[in-house]
């Protein structure tokens, strides 16, 4: 054949591949999809860690920023979960159906399939994802990870040794029972649900009774984020919702809304980069700190403030300043501000009502 040697094959492949003209790089779509993956991956966020996430643009919500992001009409969906049996293929955690569509979650052996040392790869339905697995604890009995795969929301994670089984209650009625299975030496559970059906409650039981429960935050992208696990009798944060910052930068409207509740604190940003949400699993008020940011134009930055903070002053790299009020939501103060394209902040200062500086810090990487 004319492919007489490897060099010739290289030339022919190059001709064949160069003949196609790819469409323009869909960067915005990749970023939106990537942020959705990101928020699902960080479904269990530990206190003090800010999460930036998710991006399905919901422009209508810009006009009703204080509305709860997901309002599901009760509607029955058939959901089944089958934990892997004794003769299941290697790595299978669980499988089942959601509305007739099959799903399955498998784990690869830790450190294989391209995973970095200490990391592990999972395949949820058809999506392959690798990362470091957070170990569960007695207070956080399941370290959920997850991903959205088309109309299906898949969650999976390692389970602490104390857990015998879990129940998952969906908004449309069905309650799922999850039995941990041991895969490559770690106990896991996995389940799937329709993406836009809220998950009302997840409860972990030991052989003796209830260990802990979580009421997830059902975000604007339809996915549920498990923040705090509550021990029996604990109620978590009082529910409160408030816009902590909004405005227009150039021609673009933006807002940041705080949702406090039994899930912890979740902040939803709406602006140039679409809609994103991040949760902070904190049981009590925090000091002044930057919790997260959302890239785009305008870029949004948000954080928590101590109870004595009345306003914040952000110093921009170019020398200008932005002054924002701290807003009380429930028992926690927050701040949020926006900056235009090309701007970034380098320093923040917090002031009390008598204009005394009560805190300061530098922005790292914002």
């Amino acid at each position: 054949m004319s492919i007489s040697d490897e060099h010739d094959l290289t030339g022919r492949l190059d001709q064949a591949f160069q003949a196609i003209t790819p469409r323009r790089a869909p960067v915005d779509q990749a970023v939106r999809h990537g942020t959705v993956i990101r928020v699902r991956r960080r479904i269990a966020v530990v206190a003090g860690l800010a999460v930036v996430a998710a991006g399905i643009a919901v422009p209508a919500l810009l006009h009703h920023p204080a509305r709860q992001p997901v309002l599901n009409q009760p509607r029955h969906h058939d959901v089944t979960v089958h934990p892997a049996g004794r003769h299941a293929p290697a790595g299978l955690i669980a499988s089942g159906t959601v509305g007739g569509r099959r799903w399955r979650v498998t784990a690869d052996k830790p450190g294989t399939s391209g995973a970095a040392p200490g990391a592990q790869c999972f395949t949820a339905v058809t999506l392959h994802d690798c990362g470091t697995v957070t170990a569960p604890t007695r207070s956080d009995p399941v370290a959920f990870m997850g991903t959205s795969n088309g109309p299906t929301d898949v969650a999976y994670g390692p389970v602490s040794a104390a857990v015998s089984y879990l129940t998952v209650r969906l908004a449309d009625g069905p309650a799922l029972t999850l039995h941990p299975v041991s895969v490559y030496g770690t106990r896991y559970v996995a389940f799937a649900a329709p993406l836009h059906v809220a998950i009302r409650k997840i409860t972990a039981y030991s052989a003796r009774g209830e260990l802990a429960s979580a009421i997830p935050f059902n975000g604007p992208d339809g996915s549920a984020t498990v923040g705090l696990w509550l021990r029996p009798g604990q109620t978590g944060l009082r529910r409160a919702t408030q816009v902590i910052g909004s405005g227009r930068t150039g021609s673009r409207a933006w807002s940041v809304t705080a949702y406090l509740g039994p899930w912890g604190e979740c902040l939803v940003t709406r602006g140039g980069g679409g809609t994103s949400s991040g949760c902070n699993a904190v049981p009590s008020p925090q000091g002044t700190t930057v919790l997260g940011s959302a890239s785009g134009s305008p870029g949004l930055v948000y954080g928590s403030a101590s109870a004595d903070v009345e306003h914040m002053v952000m110093t921009l790299a170019g020398g200008g300043t932005i002054r924002v009020r701290a807003i009380l939501v429930g028992d926690q103060k927050f701040f949020a501000f926006a900056h235009g394209q090309g701007q970034h902040s380098v320093r923040w200062q917090a002031y009390d009502a008598s204009r005394r500086e009560v805190g300061s810090g530098r922005f790292r990487g914002l």
Binding site: M1, L13, V27, G34, I37, R38, H128, G296, H344
Partner: protein
């Protein structure tokens, strides 16, 4: 992700998009599928961007995600396909056209198994060494060697290339 990292990702994706789509085209044989696979791969790269940059070789990292995404696409696609004993009509290549030569090569590639195809694309188009290809594919160097050898043998006897006048 902070704004600077976001910009870094955007610049990276703009720059690498064409070459990654061509890589995926070699794997899938279809430009539409290739663009879907690469878009999904870049989304995954965005979700893990700090890790991608820490790896020190973002190209290799994204290339590996492209390979995995294509493997997942293949797994997914296998299910709804129906087997039939009717062979599809196959066009006869125009011996004078470069277009047909290229299509014959793409068709011949598609006759290879997914791993052989990936080895061919990585070794002979991307230009990876056997070791680099093994790391990307998550297999041994020996497997890369044997798959490459079988793939070349299959291409040399490929009906598409013979009928296309490429022998």
């Amino acid at each position: 992700m902070d704004e600077r990292s976001g910009e870094e990702f955007r610049e990276f994706m703009h720059g690498r998009w064409p070459s990654m789509v061509r890589l995926a085209y070699g794997l899938t044989g279809d430009q539409g599928h290739a663009e879907d696979v690469v878009q999904a791969a870049f989304a995954r790269a965005y979700a893990s961007w700090p890790r991608v940059t820490r790896s020190g070789n973002p190209d290799a990292y994204v290339r590996q995600i492209v390979i995995n995404e294509n493997r997942n696409r293949f797994r997914k696609r296998r299910v709804p396909e129906r087997l039939t004993d009717q062979l599809p009509d196959r066009g006869v290549a125009d011996m004078t056209g470069r277009h047909d030569e290229r299509m014959a090569l793409i068709a011949a590639l598609q006759r290879l198994g997914p791993r052989q195809r990936a080895v061919v694309v990585l070794r002979y188009w991307v230009g990876l060494t056997e070791t680099e290809a093994a790391v990307t594919l998550g297999c041994s160097v020996g497997t890369v060697k044997s798959q490459a050898s079988r793939a070349l043998a299959a291409l040399r006897t490929s009906t598409e290339l013979v009928e296309g006048g490429l022998q």
